[in-house]
């Protein structure tokens, strides 16, 4: 039983860590399927983390925080869309700009709203994202360790399904993908390429914003400068790892979350391993898995290429 409980704890931690990555990674999936590379996920996630924590703090309602986080991420993504779609910018360059503007703006606003502090004030426990199954399952049981999660974890999995459904089972999804594969062909068939791209990029920002809020209002209870630090890039890596598919990205995030869960678990045992070495494990595992299982990854055909109408 002891072992089963321990496994439960590891799975639980893994899911908790994976959820913010899943939101952000799904954002990447949508945007890149429409042919817009979004390396700015990190910046959008950071914006979401701040906006979510701040809005939840001031309103006292985590769901308002969650929605505001999505809006903030989406607003930043709108900038990215304007640059990449309307002004045919280099997607990577614009994305890097997002990664300066997002974290810069988040910390700037934080210092203005919170008297110069580099972190938002912590949320009360009952103002965080709730755990729907709290106190329902028997405490210290396997099921409780696994399933007693913040609501954002469940939403993340639902969103994986919804994005998959959207992309592969609806007309809109077909249009989004066609725009990423062959925009000119899509255009001749009457698809509004610019509109699809705008929609996809803004959605990606909204999801990345959700991801940030899933960190700042669930995993921890405030935003601080070092909170996101690189998780947007991990989500990006998970998306490439998952071959630009929602379910693949999910597995990528779960792998990373699981490695993280293992680290947290091992850190709590009497095992004498340096915490610094433990902290390396998720990154090392990711590289090894890529070497063993994944060959050359290739995204949508027209991913990252600027598209201009009426080019003869």
């Amino acid at each position: 039983m002891e072992i089963l409980n321990d496994i439960g704890i590891i799975i639980g931690i893994s899911l908790m860590y994976a959820a913010p990555l899943m939101f952000t990674s799904l954002g990447g999936v949508i945007s890149e399927n429409a042919g817009v590379v979004n390396i700015g996920l990190e910046g959008m996630m950071t914006m979401g983390a701040f906006a979510g924590a701040a809005a939840a703090y001031f309103s006292g309602n985590p769901w308002i925080g969650f929605i505001v986080a999505g809006l903030a991420g989406g607003a930043l993504a709108l900038l990215h869309a304007v640059a990449c779609v309307t002004f045919t910018a280099d997607h990577v360059v614009s994305g890097i700009a997002m990664n300066f503007i997002g974290p810069g703006l988040a910390l700037y606003l934080c210092k203005i709203f919170f008297d110069g502090a580099a972190m938002t004030l912590p949320l009360d426990l009952n103002h965080k994202i709730p755990r729907p199954l709290n106190n329902i399952l028997p405490p210290d049981s396997f099921l409780n360790s696994v399933l007693n999660q913040y609501a954002t974890v469940y939403i993340a999995f639902i969103l994986v399904f919804l994005v998959w459904f959207l992309l592969y089972k609806t007309k809109l999804g077909l249009r989004i993908r066609s725009v990423g594969e062959h925009p000119r062909a899509a255009e001749t068939l009457g698809v509004n390429v610019y509109k699809m791209k705008y929609l996809a990029v803004i959605l990606s920002g909204v999801f990345a914003g959700f991801g940030g809020a899933a960190l700042s209002t669930a995993v921890v209870s405030n935003y601080r400068a070092s909170l996101v630090s690189g998780q947007g890039f991990i989500a990006l890596a998970a998306m490439i790892f998952g071959n630009w598919k929602p379910q693949g990205a999910m597995w990528g995030c779960l792998l990373f979350g699981a490695a993280q869960g293992l680290v947290v678990y091992l850190g709590g045992t009497s095992l004498k391993v340096s915490s610094q070495i433990l902290a390396m494990i998720p990154y090392v595992i990711t590289i090894i898995v890529l070497m063993v299982f994944v060959g050359e990854a290739s995204g949508p055909a027209a991913n990252g290429l600027p598209y201009e109408k009426n080019q003869g």
Partner: protein
């Protein structure tokens, strides 16, 4: 075309400053006062000027590192990790190995370069052997580098007691300009009467800046005037065409990553030997590599362009650090300004449209006169 590109950069900087001013005034700060503080903070005193140069030095090198890889069609997001490994190894050599002056820093720098080259070369190898996207591997390697460096610093014998940092490097490994002379009796007596020089030499001025400029020129030369550079650029422009032309693409990917890594490793080594003298425990990334990406983009991925771009960047960052203590404006406005500059640089089309509107107006005037 070149002039056009220069204009785009200048206009982007202008837009960045305008947006920065707006962001400042919305929060109730006087932007003119803020920019005044920054300008004074960079040029106001000789020691400010040398600090700006010191701040810019590693950015020139990480900028050239990213630019070099970009030219070969690779995105070196891993400059950060290569920088960390370079500084770690330079510290190790600077502390544990006993060598005479002049030789000691050279060995430490070469060791830092080699470490950075191997670190990045691994990502290059994974790309050429397994086809793994270098963006993923270098992101992962950044974090592995960070934790590995921390692990080493925590090791008994290397860690300085009661401090979250390694031992300081030996004096013989220092690359400071007139480092010993500055604190000697003769030096003190001389500098007493020379305000400018005293101020200028007060910060840890070092040979790093000269090294960085020479390296930027060298990289420009390699890309432009050597067979290796030609091959690398050919791979960057069109991989398949390069392969058809008999260029070994896989080998070139590894070489390019190794050179880029050596440059970032050099940046780390120079920073240790010239400024920090130690490796500290890192809680999070310091950003030299990520800033290098922005420097490279502002420079249009040209190694020589990285010199002014890094000076601009270093100036903004160092001048910006004066904002909080003087007028209380958050330093992060600098990151917003830099982001906006890069944002507009990404959109040459927008700037072309703006300049063409100007031309059209001029054309209308001519028409009216007729």
């Amino acid at each position: 075309m070149k002039q056009n590109r220069f204009l785009i950069v200048l206009l982007s900087i202008l837009f960045g400053l305008i947006v920065g001013a707006i962001v400042l005034s919305i929060a109730g700060f006087n932007p003119i006062e803020a920019y005044g503080v920054m300008i004074k903070g960079v040029f106001g005193k000789p020691k400010y000027i040398s600090w700006t140069i010191i701040r810019s030095t590693p950015l020139i090198l990480t900028g050239v590192s990213v630019a070099f890889a970009f030219r070969t069609g690779l995105f070196n997001i891993g400059a950060e990790g290569q920088f960390i490994i370079g500084s770690l190894v330079a510290t190790l050599v600077g502390y544990f190995i006993k060598l005479p002056p002049v030789i000691h820093p050279i060995v430490a720098i070469l060791a830092g370069c080699l470490a950075g080259a191997l670190w990045a070369g691994f990502a290059g190898l994974l790309k050429s052997k397994f086809g793994i996207n270098e963006v993923i591997t270098t992101i992962m390697l950044n974090w592995i580098a960070l934790y590995f460096s921390n692990f080493m610093v925590f090791t008994e014998g290397f860690k300085r007691p009661n401090k979250d940092a390694s031992h300081k490097i030996l004096e013989s490994a220092s690359i400071n300009i007139l480092g010993k002379w500055k604190t000697s009796e003769v030096g003190k007596a001389f500098l007493k009467d020379n305000d400018f020089l005293r101020g200028f030499l007060n910060p840890p001025v070092n040979y790093g800046f000269i090294i960085a400029i020479l390296v930027a020129i060298l990289m420009w030369y390699i890309l432009k005037h050597t067979t290796l550079g030609y091959q690398l650029r050919a791979v960057g422009l069109n991989k398949d065409a390069a392969e058809y032309g008999g260029i070994n693409v896989k080998k070139n990917i590894v070489i390019s990553m190794m050179i880029a890594g050596a440059l970032s490793g050099l940046a780390g080594a120079v920073q240790v030997l010239g400024v920090s003298k130690e490796t500290a425990v890192l809680a999070t990334m310091e950003g030299y590599g990520f800033d290098g990406i922005a420097v490279s983009l502002i420079a249009g991925n040209s190694p020589l362009g990285c010199i002014p771009a890094a000076l601009l960047f270093g100036g903004l960052k160092y001048g910006g650090s004066k904002l909080q203590p003087t007028i209380g404006a958050p330093f992060e406005v600098i990151n917003i300004i830099i982001g906006i500059i890069v944002f507009f640089i990404a959109m040459p089309k927008l700037i072309e449209i703006i300049t063409s509107i100007k031309d059209r107006k001029r054309g209308e005037k001519v028409g009216n006169i007729k």
